[in-house]
Amino acid sequence: MQTTVLVPSGVLGLGFSQAALDRGIAKGCDVIAIDGGSTDSGPHSLGTGRSKYSRAVSKAEWRALMQARARARVPLIIGTAGTSGTDTTVDWMYEITVELAEELGQNLRVARLYSGQEPDRVISKLAAGQIMPLSFAPEIDADTLQGMSNIVALAGAEQIQAALQTGADIIIAGRTTDTAIIAALPLARGAHPGACWHGAKIAECGALCSTHPGTGVIRVTFDQTGFEVEPMAPEAACTPHSVSAHMLYENSDPFRLYEPGGYLDVSAARYQALDGRRVRVEGSNWVSGPYTVKLEGARLVGYQTMLLAILREAHYVANAQAWADKLVSVLSARVADQIGLATGDFSIELRLIGVNAAMGALETRESQPAEVGALCLITAEAQEMADEIGRLANPFLLHMPLTEDEPLPTFAFPYSPAQTSRGAVYEFALNHVMRLDTPMEAFRLELSEVGTRADVA
């Protein structure tokens, strides 16, 4: 038996070709699966439980997918809904879905899969020795876990299968592995496990595994021995190289991919061109192991205020680092003296744009730019305190001379007010796995009927 999965793009909000989506629906599929997030843009979405994507864009794309789903009469799955897959971003996506069901006159069964973890569950798992650190994991204990803003567990195929078994038309899943939403149905229908996970990894970023990444839509067909992948935009092609190279992407080991309950090993995979734009892959292996799910957590670090000054005078451009070092030291002393904060209660950082703002100490190039941007980042325990330090820093950032016996400089402030409150700042605070006795133990499913029964889709 074959199982076909249509992947509209790498993430909802990134865009896809409607013509390619239509072509995929016309060719047929058993499920439509799309990712809704990632950790790529940093810890803020996880920390706050809010989506980083535009609601209007997400709704417009979800509308197109809900219409495609109604035509194909197959389930539609979104994983890691709302960027971070917290319970609140699942609810955000659910709200959009309910609105669209009304607007489109669709009657739907919607399953929500929640991945959020109560700190107490994780703390008791830690005490029971069922939390294991992955490479380079931060230290954790009961207090750090209790203090996290949000903790999510990455669902695998089993939790998505549980949602599919409810007969849901639409599944809105919280944090999942990127691959699980694609692998779940073919695995449930008995396709080759190695092929299911490998094909899912290849398709998880949509057309990124093809020659035309921007076209979005990819169709993958799984069977008992392998999988076949084909881009739905006519101008795009999958080649053995474009497909095999995708295992490198965002993956620290190009031959292994860890998932709940085991890992994928592609070291024996064979890639065969079926024609100019379709590739068949066989020989990938799934190796079963203990049932663990990865955890992600974010903790609040403090609140930030930023200022930006531009140095244009050649003397200051040439001596920007010495000036910045002096400024940080002068400001730190003033904050201690005049605001009365201890050294550990705030930080002031100056990053020199045009010198080494992106690389810091690793920068290898030296040049003489026309100007240097001095980005001042102030972090403190409360926004008002960070803002207060910003007000203290303002005149120094504008006028501080390099030495006492030179005229007072005036640098360029590009806008008024010179300082911007950045709000709460978070950090990723978990890189661990949690052992589960049963896959649904740490996850929760809710089922709803939405839309108006009177109108048929």
């Binding site: 950790t39 790529d40 843009s41 940093g42 810890p43 803020h44 992955l134 490479s135 380079f136 994991a137 931060p138 190289h241 095999s244 190279a245 490198l248 992407y249 965002e250 993956n251 620290s252 080991d253 190009p254 031959f255 670090v301 403090g302 930080s347 950082e349 990053r351 703002a357 992106a358 690389m359 810091g360 100490a361 690793l362 920068e363 290898t364 190039r365 980042l377 972090t379 700042v425 978070y426 950090e427 990723f428 890189n431």
Partner: protein, 99 residues
């Protein structure tokens, strides 16, 4: 002296989760791969990224003409002192390495 950029098709870096970064050197041909896989030493990569040698993982993949380096992020992605959320500039730094 040529830089790595002069010898290969492209160098791409990306986070592999918040705690690691991975840098892929796409050589583009068997000849370039043969040359670069010998000439590009782990020592030079560790010096460039400020890494202890045991923290660097290297994969030489002849089928793809790719050399892949994976390493911990010395500054965790998105933490207060991170300067490059997506980690792509690690690739730029490696591209400029003189071989």
């Amino acid at each position: 002296m040529p830089t790595l950029r002069d010898l290969v098709r492209k160098v791409a870096a990306k986070n592999a989760g918040p705690f690691q970064v991975t840098v892929d050197v796409f050589c583009g041909s068997a000849e370039a791969y043969a040359h670069v896989s010998t000439a590009l030493s782990n020592r030079a990569v560790c010096d460039l990224f400020g890494l202890e040698p045991q923290l660097l993982t290297r994969f030489d993949i002849p089928d793809l003409h790719v050399i892949k380096f994976s390493m911990p992020r010395i500054v965790v992605q998105g933490s207060r002192f991170d300067r490059d959320m997506h980690g792509a500039q690690f690739g730029t730094l490696l591209e400029e390495l003189v071989i």
